[in-house]
């Protein structure tokens, strides 16, 4: 309940945040909505020496259309995604899933960038961005900007391709108006992380399927997509849901049950997305 001592630096610009990261490197953590980091700190499972608070950088809170791409500022809160008319029209699955994160308090504080950068395999939004084929714009004061495809971003449990001096600036996903989609979140309480979650987006005869909590990182169910591309039925393709995945056992699921759930939920997601 009482975190270990830390220094607190509230910055007023992205440049100042990047400068602080450049200065402190691994010793610093960015604080946005605080709904992943602060609980860890209170339990003393995380003890950063410096907290760089970017929570008030309003210029990183936006949803914009740029041609076929929807660009979302990293500090856009879940609640703003949930209620964005732009998203509702162009990427409705993202608005829907943002509305499934945690509870109203969490959604009013937590940000999409914070959720993505935390790289929790049990988080919903990374799997959706994977299913959409999205990417991330990141920036460092020294090396400038680079864009990382979502498929290359999540590198390990709570680990991402972000360098210690880099900050996630923008999330980019294709506009998919009219695409079929489904999000199957299976949990025991409404506010819990998914035991298993499945995001499916179907358009132009192909489907992207992202998996929540089926391993140490958010995953693409590539075996499912391959089976579909080879003309397999939804039911057959769903049997490949956990191909290559290494799900963990916990209090809510054995490996066997989690694998089974993934198959059931992928089938349901594909049926809904193609329906």
């Amino acid at each position: 309940m009482i975190p270990a001592p830390f220094a607190y630096d509230r910055v007023d610009s992205t440049d100042a945040a990047l400068a602080a990261l450049a200065e402190h490197g691994d010793d610093a953590k960015l604080l946005a909505g605080g709904h992943s980091l602060l609980p860890l700190m209170k339990l003393r499972l995380a003890s950063p020496e410096v907290l760089v608070d970017v929570g008030r950088l309003s210029d990183l809170s936006y949803v914009r259309q740029d041609g076929d791409t929807i660009a979302i500022g990293a500090l856009t809160r879940h609640r703003d995604l949930e209620t964005s008319s732009e998203l509702a029209e162009q990427v409705p699955i993202l608005a829907h899933v943002a509305g499934q994160v945690g509870d109203p308090q969490v959604r009013h504080r937590g940000t999409i960038g914070g959720s993505v950068a935390h790289a929790d395999p049990a988080s919903d939004l990374p799997a959706v961005i994977l299913a959409l084929g999205g990417s991330f714009l990141v920036r460092s004061s020294e090396r400038g900007d680079r864009e990382i495809p979502a498929t290359e971003f999540f590198t390990g449990f709570l680990e991402s391709a972000l360098e210690p001096d880099e900050m996630l600036i923008e999330i980019r996903v294709p506009a998919v108006p009219g695409a079929g989609w489904s999000f199957q979140k299976f949990n025991r309480r409404a506010l819990d992380w998914a035991i298993v979650g499945v995001a499916a987006v179907s358009r132009n005869g192909s489907s992207g399927v992202g998996l929540v909590n089926m391993g140490s990182v958010p995953l693409l169910a590539s075996g499912v997509t391959e089976a579909l591309d080879q003309g397999g039925s939804i039911a057959d393709a769903a049997e490949h849901a956990a191909d290559g995945a290494e799900p963990q056992a916990d209090m809510n699921a054995t490996v066997e049950y989690r694998t089974h759930l993934a198959k059931v939920l992928v089938r349901r997601a594909l049926e809904e997305a193609s329906g």
Partner: protein, 827 residues
């Protein structure tokens, strides 16, 4: 000359109305003062160093670095504090003469016996400094094997308390007529056996524990503020444990944010703050962290139950046999050993059972001590008999509602002396069940179920019911004596009519969310003809209310509320004498209505209660033998328990593919007798149902094989929130209690008692055609899916112990729920 308006003769009764709670404006606007809100200048903050091992010898403790940490005033180990204790921590319920109650002190010295056992305390100038220093206390542990399986604990392979030489605390038998039980089973046409696991639960009140002890400026006494349900009992026990005079200890429970039994306790931190404040002559305070609450506040349930039912060819129960193994945890807390015994009387449920035997063995484990948790023994008992009745229905081949109808104690049998010797004063089970079943649309549901089963599909409809008695109003002191309980069961109330006509009530009951201030005001309003707004209820401070036995066991209204009513009657009697004197009439000719005395036959003569109060205060003109002031003090010892009863019905949809349960409908009829405030009653029933449903579907304090509490945070310990619970529909049944003058019975635990078996009966019913006959609580999607797999993969005869697996608790729960029918098969 009065400050209050008398209520008119036409005033309707206040009791029975949905008066908004007096307590709520303060609580809802954040003005409630909880223990940690108290501003106490100069207070030292205590933090506790806790064992990370379930079972370990403490080889050394180095406090030097912690002592040198900024702001730290002192660090104490168990050895440093040993001289402060006049006695070990209290366990007030020696259930047998040879019960093992091992040494238990606020800070352990030799060994840690559960994760969270206190090994040292830090005192510092701030809570932050204290918390930081906890990490600097260097304790060397020599880890020993954990004991987390109840049956393994009984083998004494690893003994937790070496001096005791055994992990067994006691075996307690309720042997009434063993020959009759044997005969019943010998002659039975049907027998069934159920083996059930009552998983450990975390009580999880909204407010964790908090303690602050302030030395008086002179005289050597202390004021102990604590988030407790039992300031009166705490005061006595603190005096005994510290060797202090009772006169030197004042206990105050400020606003308390829930307890559910977990604050019916004398805790190490209360004793530590008091002893250290007394020793150092400085206030000492402590606030529990949520993760500490999971480890160091008592847990509930923790039993393995075996129940055998014998029945004749029609399914009429002829005998019940119960064997319990009860998890004490590492030590005996205040009433740990008695909790399973409180349930012992209810294993025959609401049925007319002629033969019964019960035995319970309490066993130590290396887990957090268990103790009272909402219902305390009675939900467990009800679960066993109500699951058992469903098993019997299946065995006999009749509907679960029908098997119960054949066995209910009928209305004309009351008052009914049970085989246990207890007298059930009233009941109306068939009618209560009928109301609930009708409200749920039971017959239509069964038809829908049959239809859907014939059509196939992967979502299955299940209907479950349970009927129960709730043994409330703890308790007749003489009954407690027969159970070796070290206290009585009375309650105290003082009613004072002030010169202004306002009323002060001093109650020995100790509300922590129940709404006593509102309910007591309503009782007084009708008795004395005043507005409930003019009644002030004082409580929870042992200097203001010196006598009391506090709040637990659904006792406050049927004991404490009745005491208030009786005190009002005495005040009224005295007022009548004064009024008669003033109006020069005979007391026998006086009528009292709407707050006004009048003389029968003389309509012009009347005197409002407030005027009588003022006369009693001035004492200018009182009858010769009447003392000034209108005040009465009553201590009420109930002649019997109270016996609320009811029936719950639950309708679920179970998804065979995922194991998910959706509660489609929930209906409850809880007959708690006369309702003082139906809104408060409904709130209690709603909350109770949610807590029972939580045991059935969500919650478990899972331990791993090493004795670590895996479900130690609110991310893993699944307390359901509003979106996770169904809308509850309540049916009405009111059978006033003949045992007390208010006709009330108590309502705090009823929902919890009924809900768990109702929900599990529904889940099992949904899957019965797939061969599932038993379901381990909580009926999580995982447990359900595995039960279906086991039923499919097995011989179709349901689950066996080996087939049900439990992920994290696998090692502990070797005897997973299983059932076998002795005759005829269960399928």
């Amino acid at each position: 000359m009065t400050a209050t308006e008398p209520r008119t003769n036409e005033s309707p009764a206040v009791t029975g109305t949905r008066l908004l709670r007096k307590e709520d404006p303060v609580l809802l606007t954040g003005e409630g003062r909880y223990t940690d809100d108290l501003q106490i200048p100069g207070a030292l903050h205590m933090a506790v160093v806790r064992s990370p091992f379930a079972h370990a010898r403490i080889t050394s403790i180095d406090t030097a670095e912690a002592e040198a940490s900024p702001g730290v005033v002192a660090v104490y180990t168990g050895a440093d504090l040993a001289d402060l204790w006049a006695d070990q921590m209290p366990s007030a319920w020696p259930v047998t003469d040879d019960m093992v109650n091992p040494p238990h002190f606020p800070v352990t010295q030799d060994k840690a016996r559960y994760v969270g056992d206190a090994v040292a305390v830090v005192l510092a100038e701030s809570n932050v400094a204290a918390r930081d220093a906890v990490d600097l206390v260097d304790v060397d542990y020599d880890p020993l094997p954990a004991v987390v399986d109840l049956e393994a604990a009984l083998t004494d392979e690893v003994v937790i308390h070496e001096d005791a030489g055994t992990n067994k605390s006691y075996t307690w038998d309720l042997e009434i007529d063993e020959a009759a039980v044997t005969k019943a089973f010998d002659e039975a046409a049907h027998t069934v056996t159920g083996k059930f696991v009552q998983q450990r639960l975390l009580p999880m009140p909204m407010e964790p524990r908090a303690v602050a002890c302030v030395p008086e400026p002179f005289g050597g006494g202390v004021t102990l503020y604590s988030a407790t349900q039992i300031p009166h009992i705490l005061k006595v026990m603190t005096a005994v444990t510290l060797g202090m005079s009772e006169a030197d200890i004042r206990v105050v429970a400020p606003a308390v944010g829930g307890g559910f039994g977990s604050k019916l306790e004398v805790y190490a931190e209360e004793l530590l703050c008091t002893a250290l404040a007394h020793k150092l002559k400085r206030p000492v305070r402590w606030l529990e962290e949520r993760s500490e609450n999971a480890q160091a506040t008592i847990h509930g349930r923790g039993q393995i139950q075996e129940i055998d039912l014998a029945a004749d060819a029609d399914g009429k129960v002829t005998g019940v046999r119960v064997r319990l193994l009860a998890d004490m945890g590492a030590y005996l807390q205040l009433i740990t050993p008695g909790i399973p015994l409180l349930g012992s009387f209810l294993y025959c449920g609401v049925y007319d059972v002629p033969a019964f035997s019960f035995t319970c063995t309490g066993v130590f484990t290396t887990m957090t001590p268990t103790d009272a948790y909402r219902g305390a023994g009675r939900p467990e008992a009800t679960y066993a008999i109500e699951r058992g009745m469903d098993l019997l229905a299946r065995e006999v081949g009749v509907d679960p509602a029908e098997i119960r109808r054949r066995n209910y104690i009928t209305t004309d049998q009351f008052p009914y002396t049970a085989v246990t010797g207890l007298e059930y004063d009233s009941g109306n089970h068939e009618s209560g069940a009928e109301i609930a079943l009708d409200l749920a649309g039971y017959d239509d549901l069964r038809a829908e179920q049959e239809q859907r089963r014939s059509e196939g599909g992967t979502k299955h409809l299940g209907i479950g019911m349970a009927s129960y008695f709730e043994m409330c109003g703890l308790a007749p002191s003489r009954v407690l004596a027969s159970l070796n309980y070290s206290a009585g069961g009375w309650e105290s109330a003082t009613v004072r009519m002030m010169p202004t006509g306002k009323v002060q009530v001093v109650s020995g009951a100790t509300p922590h969310g129940q709404g006593h201030e509102t309910s007591w005001s309503m009782i007084v309003a009708d008795k004395l003809g005043v507005s409930p707004d003019d009644v002030e209820v004082l409580h929870s401070d042992t200097n203001i209310s010196p006598h009391g036995l506090d709040t637990y066991g659904s006792r406050s209204l049927p004991v404490g509320g009745v005491a208030v009513a009786l005190a009002c009657d005495q005040v009224l009697d005295k007022a009548k004498q004064i009024a008669a004197h003033q109006m020069e009439a005979s007391a026998d000719d006086l009528e009292f209505s709407g707050g006004v005395f009048s003389v029968r036959g003389s309509p012009d003569k009347e005197m409002p209660m407030a005027a009588v109060a003022f006369e009693a205060f001035t004492a200018h003109d009182l009858p010769d033998d009447v003392e000034p002031n209108l005040t009465a003090q009553v201590t009420y010892d109930p002649p019997n328990f109270s016996w609320p009863f009811g029936t719950h019905v639950c309708v679920v949809e179970v998804d065979e593919e995922t194991g998910a349960v959706e509660v489609r409908d929930y209906v409850a009829v809880d007959d708690c007798g006369t309702q003082i405030n139906p809104m408060i009653v409904e709130g209690q029933v709603h909350g109770g149902i949610v807590q029972g449903l939580a045991q059935a579907l969500f919650e478990e304090a899972v331990y791993d094989a090493d004795g670590n509490l895996s479900a130690g945070s609110l991310a893993e310990y699944l307390v359901p929130a509003a979106p996770d619970v169904p809308t509850m529909r309540l049916g009405q049944s009111v059978t006033p209690s003949p045992t007390n003058s208010l006709g009330v019975k108590g309502v705090g635990e009823a929902g919890t008692i009924g809900a768990a078996p109702t929900v599990i009966n529904a889940v099992v019913d949904a899957l019965s055609h797939l061969g599932v006959t038993e379901m381990r609580m909580p009926a999580s999607p995982l447990h359900i899916w595995e039960a279906i797999q086991a039923a499919r993969g097995g011989d179709g005869d349901g689950l066996t112990a080996e087939q049900t697996t439990d992920t994290a608790g696998a090692d502990r729960d070797a005897p997973s729920d299983s059932v076998q029918a002795d005759q005829g098969g269960a399928s």
